[in-house]
Symmetry: C2
Subunit: 278 residues, 2 copies
């Protein structure tokens, strides 16, 4: 794979948009999240407001369920005692799916048991149903979603979860997905697990403090993490996928001939140094 | 799911066989592993010998690659300096697949991109190919495999890995799977990640010490962890799978109509207290 990436051209890569990038600061370092306004515009707008107003600063990761998710925000059950949400909206529409019309879709030829069609859109793993005309973000490792209660429209973006286990695709079309961790998953995935079955900590002292969650655009440029992501609509990306679908190195004896949506690597890199003028 | 399990009868459950059960003792507690002699008889026999002779006691988890595996054993590269393996064999055959004839197989009706047929055999997630007449253990969360070098027959069971990320099914038929973690995954999955790309620690001090790995049969009964696993050839197991394939609780709005092999829960319980005679 590295060989293919080394052969890529600058236009195969895109920079993260600071207006749609969150930095979650933990004791161990920074988690970089890309938001998905094309799929969850109302939630993403709310999350931007919440980050801008420092909603999560000083809150915590209060749930860690093994082979499933970590969840963060305000664990207070008494609604009146919860942290005020400032200018953010208390009520949002459910954004489980969207119309697939007008949506870029780099389709994978591989079969999938969860959806009629799978692929990528703007760098996100996506599923699509031509019959319903709907598309939705798929739950893969690193997916960021908005926790909700029983009512479909009960998420406001304050309580967020990140998938850190086997892809729970049964959540697809059942909850609003708002983005994806693009760097720093290793900081979240080692969060000590809370008690079964749900992983909510009994003791508040076991929660992982969140120093801050900020919108990249709200930080001076020197404090941002410049990252580039491989475009999913490029021939080099298709080659990366094929190199994983049928591995040809000496170690692999039987190529799989298949890849699952959530096994596809989504390469990230620091921007290469500018070439000096000759 | 709990309702279904509460309605099960004692014969729906099986006890772990102490001769095929490993206890891995870490500072955080015990990891319980079920070995799979039906699939990897030579490796399992070697692992039994290694455990019996305390091979892993004082060794470590020396690799933790995010969204992939933890690996343990002896990280020493110089072959002459490696820990002696006692009565274990230095050379074993590759046991990537086995004949499916004579193998119990509780088939799932769900589609799978990696193999023609999927299901369970003796409690393990398994794939099967009627064309080749072969079956193999699938790489799911918790799968235990025997690390190898480039040569197919270069594993001897000393270097073992446990999957703790998105199921790497591309490894199926490429490496010898020897068992599965049935309890204590949450102790392994939080292992701090080593540096990319492979997760081997640069500094030995970052490794996680293994206090011991013992065969349950080598311990007095009072020191064993009595566990029961739901049989996968029972109607109640089929009902559990269906309850996950099409969730009917108030929270889920759109049932998936599908389940992936590696999303199927494999219930474990402590043996219920004996019923008093009336």
């Amino acid at each position: 794979m590295q060989e293919l990436l080394d052969g890529s051209s600058p236009s195969d890569w895109r920079a993260l948009d600071p207006a749609n990038t969150l930095y979650m600061e933990l004791a161990g370092g920074r988690v970089v999240i890309e938001l998905a306004p094309a799929f969850a515009p109302a939630h993403v707008a709310n999350i931007r407001t919440l980050a801008h107003e420092h909603y999560w600063d000083g809150l915590s990761i209060y749930r860690s369920q093994d082979n499933f998710v970590v969840q963060f925000g305000d664990p207070t059950e008494d609604e009146k005692a919860r942290k005020p949400i400032g200018n953010a909206k208390a009520q949002l529409p459910a954004e489980f799916t969207r119309e697939s019309e007008g949506l870029a879709f780099d389709r994978l030829p591989d079969s999938d048991g969860w959806a009629p069609e799978i692929g990528f859109s703007g760098g996100f793993p996506v599923a699509r149903d031509p019959k319903s005309g709907q598309a939705w973000l798929a739950h893969c490792y690193g997916t960021l979603g908005a926790g909700r209660d029983v009512a479909a429209d009960s998420s406001n973006g304050t309580e967020l979860y990140v998938v850190d286990g086997q892809s729970p695709r049964q959540l697809d079309r059942n909850i609003t997905v708002v983005g994806r961790v693009v760097q720093g998953m290793e900081l979240l995935s080692v969060t000590p697990r809370g008690p079964q079955p749900m992983g909510f900590y009994d003791e508040p002292g076991l929660r992982t403090p969140i120093r801050s969650i900020a919108l990249a655009a709200d930080l001076p440029e020197a404090e941002r993490t410049p990252l580039q992501l491989l475009r999913t609509d490029t021939p080099v990306f298709a080659q990366v996928v094929e190199s994983r679908r049928n591995r040809k190195d000496a170690w692999y004896k039987v190529p799989a001939g298949h890849i699952d949506l959530c096994n596809v690597p989504l390469p990230v890199r620091a921007p290469p140094p500018a070439q000096p003028a000759e």
